[in-house]
């Protein structure tokens, strides 16, 4: 059965187009709930800005990645705004990447 780490690895392929850092290392994934019996996964995630015009696009990309996982038939992505995302949620490696010219 697919694990949380498998999901995070796959989601690392989705890059924030503006910041050029993947959505996992940006700290946008809040919560992953895997239900093996129903073969479904629910994710709570956020975006760097509440009004991000790409929210539908990113949500679609995440859903597509989840549906492509073995053992998953159904995937739901909830965009949430609590807790509010801030820059302290970015992983150290990603911060280093952002700081490079």
């Amino acid at each position: 059965m697919v694990t949380e780490n498998d999901i995070l690895d796959r989601l690392r392929n989705i890059i924030d187009p503006e910041l050029e850092v993947n959505i996992v290392d940006l700290g946008l994934i809040y919560n992953i709930n895997i239900n093996p019996e129903e073969r479904r996964v629910d994710i709570n995630m956020t975006l760097t800005a509440e009004g991000c015009p790409l929210s539908n696009v990113i949500k679609f990309e995440v859903e597509e990645v989840l549906k492509g996982l073995e053992g998953i038939d159904e995937a739901t992505v909830n965009i949430v705004w609590q807790p509010k995302w801030d820059q302290s949620m970015i992983k150290l490696e990603a911060l280093k990447k952002l700081s490079r010219h």
Binding site: G51, P53, F60, S99
Partner: protein
């Protein structure tokens, strides 16, 4: 705020406006080339120059602002635009009335000037009311929402003065105050409307694009008060034959603009995303020119009026640096960010898969984009110098270079959409 606030129609109308503006920009430089000789006359009641400036200010600046606002206001403020059904009628009415107005002004036809001015007032006024109605639903009144509200109030006042002046050409009424009205119109539109709008939008977009902090409250509040006090003092001074009130207003505005520039450099210096993209170069160039235009403004205020009258090229140079050097650079810079987003969102609505990859392709640095940047940035300096000297040959050469640069921009935008 949800993504639902950005709708299909707001994406399509934003793209339509931006593409139309990208057509008006080369048209402006073509006309600047053709009408270069008109710069030899003083700007007041110089109808060819009035026509030319409106091709740029309405055809390019306001066209982009209108289109981008349909997309960015929901993003920045978390509200839906009140009446989406007005998008396309307003667009067609605005474009048509602009053509009538600038044609009337260029060939000095009072009927066309008055007709174009009235239609512009109706179309821009309708847009303005639509935005003001949308602002009623704003929940959080912070700097951005306040600045946007004030900007659109100034726009309403500015177009009202514009309507009055255009009717003057036909009805020939109240002409003795027209110079004051003209100066008020310029200050209200470019500081009250455009600069106020830019300050509000910048403090939202910079954190989004470059992960900057937001400006300290005491700083933006001081800036907000200074800019509004400056515009108010300038308008009020019209009733007292300018004098000290005008000088005080100008001093407030200069200080306010310098504080705004300082905030920009402060935020950008401490940004988390350090990578310099094409937009950052345009923005830095834009703020350099903004400070330059403030210094030119101080020079104009400080010089004896006789010196100015003998060399009114300083007005043209000042206006060109402020309008094209700052506003033009900032808009072109942000277009390199906003346009690829709009294209991807449009593609996403059609086919879903692949839109995301397309976004990366369009945002990738391109060699020609940097050639265009160099042409635009050096073009501003060349334009400032040639207009200051009123050297017609140099003005024509500058206009030709900037015409070429604006064509490159146009084809760059088109190429993004076709990929």
């Amino acid at each position: 705020m949800s993504a639902a606030n950005t709708t299909d129609s707001s994406i399509n109308i934003a793209l339509r406006h931006i593409k139309t503006a990208a057509v008006f920009l080369p048209v402006f430089f073509y006309l600047m080339f053709m009408d270069a000789g008109s710069f030899q006359a003083y700007f007041f009641m110089n109808t060819v120059i009035i026509s030319l400036t409106h091709v740029f200010t309405l055809g390019f600046i306001l066209m982009v602002i209108m289109g981008a606002s349909y997309m960015l206001l929901p993003v920045a403020l978390g509200v839906k635009i009140a009446y989406e059904k007005l998008f396309f009628p307003v667009y067609y009415a605005f474009t048509g009335s602009l053509v009538i107005f600038v044609t009337g002004m260029h060939f000095f036809s009072p009927v066309f000037i008055a007709l174009g001015g009235s239609l512009l007032f109706i179309s821009i006024g309708t847009y303005n009311i639509n935005i003001l109605f949308s602002l009623k639903k704003v929940k959080k009144w912070d700097y951005t929402s306040l600045a946007i509200l004030f900007a659109y109030i100034y726009l309403a006042i500015g177009i009202l003065i514009g309507l009055y002046m255009s009717l003057l050409f036909y009805f020939n009424i109240g002409g003795q105050y027209i110079f004051y009205f003209l100066i008020d119109h310029i200050y209200i539109m470019f500081i009250g409307f455009v600069l106020m709008l830019f300050t509000g939008i910048f403090y939202r977009l910079l954190p989004m694009f470059y992960m900057t902090k937001t400006p300290p409250r005491y700083l933006w509040l001081t800036d907000f008060i200074l800019l509004n006090a400056g515009v108010a003092a300038v308008i009020l001074s019209s009733f007292f034959a300018r004098g000290v009130l005008f000088d005080a207003g100008s001093a407030f505005l200069c200080t306010g603009i310098l504080i705004f520039s300082g905030i920009f450099f402060y935020l950008m210096a401490a940004r988390i995303k350090k990578k310099l993209d094409i937009t950052t170069f345009y923005l830095y160039a834009g703020f350099f020119y903004l400070i330059l235009s403030v210094l030119a403004g101080i020079l104009i205020l400080g010089l004896f009026s006789r010196t100015i009258t003998q060399n009114y090229g300083i007005y043209y140079s000042f206006g060109f640096v402020g309008l094209f050097g700052f506003i033009g650079m900032a808009i072109i810079g942000f277009l390199h960010k906003i346009f690829p987003f709009l294209i991807s969102l449009k593609q996403f609505e059609k086919m879903k898969k692949g839109a995301y990859a397309g976004l990366f392709r369009n945002m990738r640095e391109k060699y020609l984009q940097f050639v265009d940047l160099i042409l635009f940035v050096t073009g501003v300096l060349a334009g400032a110098y040639s207009l200051l000297e009123l050297d017609i040959i140099l003005i024509k050469i500058t206009a030709a270079v900037l015409f070429f640069a604006s064509l490159l921009l146009f084809f760059n935008l088109l190429s993004m959409e076709r990929k």
